[in-house]
Amino acid sequence: MKRGRRPSEPGRASAARTGAIGGFAGANPLVKSWRRIRALIVREVRATFRDRFTVTILVAVPIGALLLFGFILTTEVKHLALGVLDASQTSASRRLVAELAAQESFDPTVVATRDELERLVASGRVAAAIVIPPSFDRDLERLRRDGPAPEIEVVYDAAETVLAQNAEAYLRGILGATARALVDPAGGRPRVTVASRTLFNPTLDGTAYMVSGTYGFVLSFLAVLITAVSVVGERAAGTFEQLQVTPATSVEIVLGKLLPLGAVFAFDVFLMALVAGVGMGVWPRGSLVFFLVVSAVYVLISLALGLLISATSKSAAEAVQRSVIFSIPLVQLSGFIFPVRNMPTWLQWFPKVFPATHYIAVSRAIYLRGEGAATLWPELLFILAGGVVLVALAVRSVGARA
């Protein structure tokens, strides 16, 4: 990212370029303004594509993020190491163990003593362990005559909290169903049963959820970074000051920066949508065009933010440092991984100040529930308002000759 700092790009080249920006006399002011913006755009596009490092990052990071994040969230319990202490050693207890192994959810490790079991859990080699009591067979018999239910102990390694939470329901479900089948092969009877129906994502697959969130991650993070670094680089090389003394106004300079970079990131969004759709089978349930339009608006916000950060940073490294410090809570607070709803209620206003939170919510609504503008307008309005404010601030920070 050393636009304008290359030894191969002497000052006269930029001077010639800045000269072109002012050189249109006698036309209508709007036409003149457009010509200046166009000159700035051409200049920006050339500079961006000359730097191979930037181009690589612009393509590699979004696709890499999609592929990495797309597959990491799963609600399925598969091949989870499970310790088993079968003190009963009867056909009923063996059936129970076989049933746990058969579902592919658990990989049982059979141990002989209580100590061994506790050690397995404590060392983290199994995520959970079950203890079938010696009296299991008799207890089942008692249950058939309407006695109390047999007891099974389950020990979880709750240091892996999320794992324990996921495994709990699965384990209980399998234990209950097997015991029921053992007591009464015909069916059996909890008094109330539940028939669950899941809308929008019946298999509870995490891919679409993470893919739709990754847009927010990439646009918030990468766009801010690239913009901040590019402008700081220009300031360091002095080419930004040259722009400021041309007849171009602040608005024109900002637009000349934002439009081409915006187009690059809009293309990134399109590329990601394509990779997600073709490569990972995740297409938006709602309108793709609508999604692209919303994303384009959001891109402008990130770019404006990048401009703002660059205005207060002296060096490129400092700009990146600032963008990172700004963006890390963004990953954790915007709902990308942790739902905002789960946060303490008194603090929930805070993530809602970030446009990123709303953009991620909107992407998910479009991708997973197929929502449109009719129901999403409050969020859209917020994103738009955030955009207007940030672009206005960015224009102010440029502070060109009025």
Binding site: M1, F53, A65, L68, F69, I72, T74, E76, V121, A122, S123, A149, P150, E151, I152, E153, V154, Y156, D157, A158, A159, E160, T161, L163, A164, Q165, N166, E168, A169, L175, G176, G188, R189, R191, V192, T193, A195, R197, T198, L199, F200, N201, T203, L204, G206, Y209, G233, A317, V320, Q321, P329, V331, Q332, I337, F338, R341, N342, M343, P344, R369
Partner: protein, 370 residues
């Protein structure tokens, strides 16, 4: 390696430490980040459902169905339920994300329960898979253990599953996060600090000065790393104290063992930074590479989400990260109270990673030093 080796390393380390004093970015990483992250992971972010919006489509409107709704409500995961009067309304709520779950009870619910054959329906919004799965299992377990005569009595199903959650009896997310938080902070510190080092010297021309010194590449690299090892111990201590003071979560195992494990981890992380530094051509490039290394490693290492269920290539990629092994070791010591014998494996892996990285760094630096 000659007899000046350690004195050379020490001299470079001293020079590096003096430069560091004036670096505000490193100070931020050392002091502000641990505080913010501890508060964030200790008290703010969570994967446990809370304030969950839900709705009830109660067809029979009987005393029994009201009890059932109350039984779900008292689990504490839910907001007050909305009442809806039709499936259309229920599905519209789900489609707009205004409810995560809708419980549907039939109009014959009271009679069904009395005859022991009742059935309720649960509609879930699958667009948030983790929440949907948890909410589904919470509601299912409440409903299947529901007794109309004594809705709040201890549940006795077909098997009485006695659950014991070792190391974290209340299944609080914060113990999961805080037990490995130091890994996150140290990755940020070590990579950011060391990745700029050599590039910056090259840019400012002081690298040539260092080269003219009678030091070898290895001495140069090690000397540059030493001050950050000291800083890392400071950050580790700070984050441990913060977790204890703010959230009452003190390490359960030996602090000494933790201090042993952290050394190969910090060295490996610093070596990654140095490697980045030898690859990048400018400071900016090095910071970029660092950032795009740090972010995915937070997720792939298993610090934020369990790595156990990640699909095959991704899981193995994560195993190449020092952070994966440090978080395994740290959880064993801090959360489970393990000792040295429990973390031998991770220590060995970390040392191997460090050695390999050091070899690569040496090879990368050689041509320029020739």
């Amino acid at each position: 390696m000659n007899h000046h080796f350690w004195s050379n390393v020490w001299a470079i380390a001293f020079k590096e430490a003096r430069v560091l004093r004036n670096d505000p970015a490193v100070l931020t990483m050392m002091l502000i980040q641990p505080v913010i992250m501890t508060l964030l992971f200790g008290g703010v972010v969570s994967n446990t459902p809370a304030n969950t919006p839900w709705a009830v489509l109660d067809r029979g409107r009987s005393e029994t169905s009201r009890r059932l709704v109350e039984a779900v409500q008292t689990t504490g995961y839910f907001l007050q339920p909305r009442t809806v009067f039709s499936y259309r309304e229920a599905e519209a709520l789900l489609a707009r994300g205004k409810a995560v779950a809708v419980l549907v009870t039939p109009d014959t619910f009271e009679r069904d329960v009395a005859s022991g054959q009742a059935r309720v329906q649960l509609l879930l919004d699958g667009s948030e898979p983790l929440t949907a799965a948890r909410v589904g299992s919470i509601v299912t377990s409440v409903v299947t253990s529901f007794r109309p005569d004594a809705g709040t009595a201890p549940p006795t199903g077909i098997v009485d599953v006695r659950q014991r959650f070792r190391f974290n009896p209340t299944l609080a997310d914060r113990i999961f996060y805080l037990a490995a938080l130091s890994g996150m902070l140290l990755t940020n510190l070590c990579l950011s600090a060391s990745s700029g080092g050599i590039v910056a010297e090259r840019e400012s021309g002081t690298y040539e000065q260092l080269l003219s010194l009678p030091t070898t590449a290895l001495e140069l690299v090690l000397g540059k790393l030493v001050p950050y090892v000291g800083l890392s111990y400071f950050v580790l201590a700070l984050s441990t104290i913060l977790g204890g003071v703010f959230f009452g979560f003190w390490p359960r195992g030996s602090l000494l063992v933790l201090a042993v494990v952290v050394l190969p981890f910090v060295l490996a992380s610093l070596a990654i930074g140095v490697l980045v530094s030898t690859i990048a051509h400018t400071t900016t490039q090095s910071v970029f590479l660092t950032v795009f290394f740090i972010l995915p490693s937070m997720i792939l290492s298993g610090i934020m989400l369990p790595y156990h269920f990640m699909p095959s290539p991704i899981r193995e990629i994560g195993a190449l990260l020092p952070l994966r092994w440090y978080q395994i070791a740290s959880r064993r010591i801090v959360a489970r109270g393990g000792g040295l014998e429990d973390v031998v494996g991770p220590i060995v892996v970390l040392l191997v990673i460090f050695t390999v990285l050091l070899a690569i760094v040496r090879w990368r630096m050689k041509p320029r030093l020739g």
